[in-house]
Subunit: 346 residues, 2 copies
């Protein structure tokens, strides 16, 4: 007669427990059951305090971003792909080829493990799509009420070819400014989802890694002056930063700025200005005037670039100033946000 | 007669506001008034979405860690130097020369700006001491109650000389295990401070970057097998990880493990095992037996290494197992933590 072994049932959790941050068995189970299977790659399998990367023979770009978006799931994405795409876009805006990401998770006790799995799966998919590898990570758990579900930090490394010199300082009088897509979608989507305003079915986040667009642009026009993703604070804040850093004046044409009708309607309703609303898949591209049309056509032929427009130029004027020629023929200064328009948008 | 200009008073805040995370004027004021002056360096002044680093001609180590310690100030340090030292030590444990750090801040609305300044000043000092530069950063603000004052992520880059091959996989039968200092100080200090147990005057956190110790070690003994900092979960958890990764058995000698009397007393009182209590300035060094005495003497002559001891060895036995020969002549298995002993210790 065979003896029948009764297996000791492995304790299963459906939510994050404080013990998942202990560095013990539960932390290992998160790593083994959620992170490793999703991010599977030889770098992670070094099982080290960090990851040893191959020799990189070019200058390195290094960037970091923490993501605290609320809600964590929204039409068009979730905090996971947002975190991957955001850091990939920051590397692209340095003129870098994105290569490696780190992922640092802060989890709230009680977060559903199924939600974590969904987020991690989305990160893995976004990383694959963007051509980057998540090579190292960290997980902390805080007590219920000490974070809001999940916060994610991603830091990124890329290499910068020697013929590329992209910097906000290079914006020069005469340069043309292109926005690569409709502005305001992400911010309005998050706001609408968070506050249950009911526009979520129409307005989705534009979160996307713009790698293929930037690769095409830089291979044909290596001397692009500035690339910036217009995230927090929208295109208005980003252009103000550029105007100040380069000590130039920027002129925008309101009629040229691509804003979706639905976004415009919500903004009117709520008294928001779409120029200040966050984007997660829109770049500002600043090029010499003779390259503007070429750049525009490359962008429009790239994924996520179909709706690109030339929205303004760098002009003679007060250094650090951004102004807009309005629909009605007047012009007004577009300053920096002095308070907070929409918190926790990314 | 001269006209007297009455300056518009600049609005001053003494606490973090949601607007400090807007990407607008207030975010810029944090950067200009707190981060730039403290971390001042040409990389940060690129004012880019990331930082472009010099050409690195060696393999790169890349690591990340989020810090959520509570309380944020404690005897011996604060969350700021903890975040810098932690990531520097992770790089050192890869055999890397630490070079560049990123700093990602998640701030709670209402955090005192004076506290933020203190933390940032400590980070700057710790970075200088550890020989690393904070080259890129990010700040997010969440509503009151959605984080606990401040969480910090640091990611780090270092270069690994080609003759160095440190990995938990290299622990080999016969190897000797050294602990570079008293174990348990950090965890007991945090616990005592958090719970007002009254031991804070005696027990300080051991937070320290162990660069000079590791540099000395590797220059004289490049073939060190394993280096690990015994943080969360203490030396017990770290040794379990190593035993499992290398599929070896580890034997510890209880009488040899350096534990401060005060730490031992608190642990007895509270029913904690110092082997599982977090350290922030203690490495586990695993070397071939013929190099053990030499390694020990280098460590003891290094800063923070005075109290180093040989605590055990890699032995023939069940792969993945760690056991300890106790004071009383018996032996017992030291498993992994199954729950959480002390949450938010780092």
């Amino acid at each position: 007669m065979k003896s029948v072994q009764c297996p000791i049932p492995k304790q299963r959790y459906d939510r994050v427990m404080l013990g998942h941050g202990s560095g013990g068995t539960l932390t290992q189970s998160l790593i083994d059951e959620i992170f490793y299977p999703a991010f599977k790659n030889p770098f992670l399998q070094q099982q080290h305090d960090g990851s040893i990367l191959p020799l990189l023979s070019q200058h390195i770009a290094f960037t970091t971003d923490s993501f605290v978006v609320s809600p964590i799931f929204f039409p068009g994405g979730n905090i996971g792909d947002l975190a991957v795409n955001g850091t990939v876009n920051d590397l692209l805006c340095c003129g870098a080829t994105p290569l490696y990401l780190s992922a640092g998770f802060i989890l709230e006790e009680g977060l559903l493990l199924d939600d974590l799995k969904k987020i991690v799966a989305t990160m893995a998919k976004a990383a694959e799509k963007a051509g980057v590898t998540i090579v190292t990570g960290d997980t902390k758990v805080v007590e219920k009420g000490k974070c809001d579900g999940i916060y994610i930090n991603t830091s990124g490394i890329g290499t910068v070819p020697s013929n590329i010199n992209i910097s906000p300082k290079r914006a020069t009088e005469g340069d043309i400014i292109i926005a690569t897509g409709f502005v305001g979608d992400h911010g309005i989507c998050i706001l609408s989802t968070r506050e249950n305003l009911g526009f979520e079915s129409e307005i989705k986040s534009d979160t996307a890694a713009l790698r293929s667009m930037v690769v095409s642009l830089l291979s044909e026009i290596p001397d692009i002056h500035v690339l910036r993703d217009a995230t927090r604070g929208g295109i208005a804040s980003t252009l103000n930063e550029i105007a100040e850093t380069a000590q130039v004046c920027i002129e925008l044409e309101e009629t040229q700025i691509p804003v979706r009708e639905s976004v415009s309607a919500v903004c009117n309703l709520l008294g928001l200005d779409p120029l200040y609303v966050a984007n997660e898949g829109v770049l500002l591209v600043i090029v010499r005037p003779e390259e503007a049309e070429h750049a525009l056509s490359i962008i429009r032929n790239s994924p996520n670039g179909h709706d690109a427009e030339i929205i303004g130029k760098v002009v003679k004027g007060s250094p650090g100033e951004v102004y807009i020629n309005t629909l009605f023929g007047s012009s007004r200064i577009i300053g920096r946000l002095s308070g907070e328009q929409l918190p926790r948008i990314c």
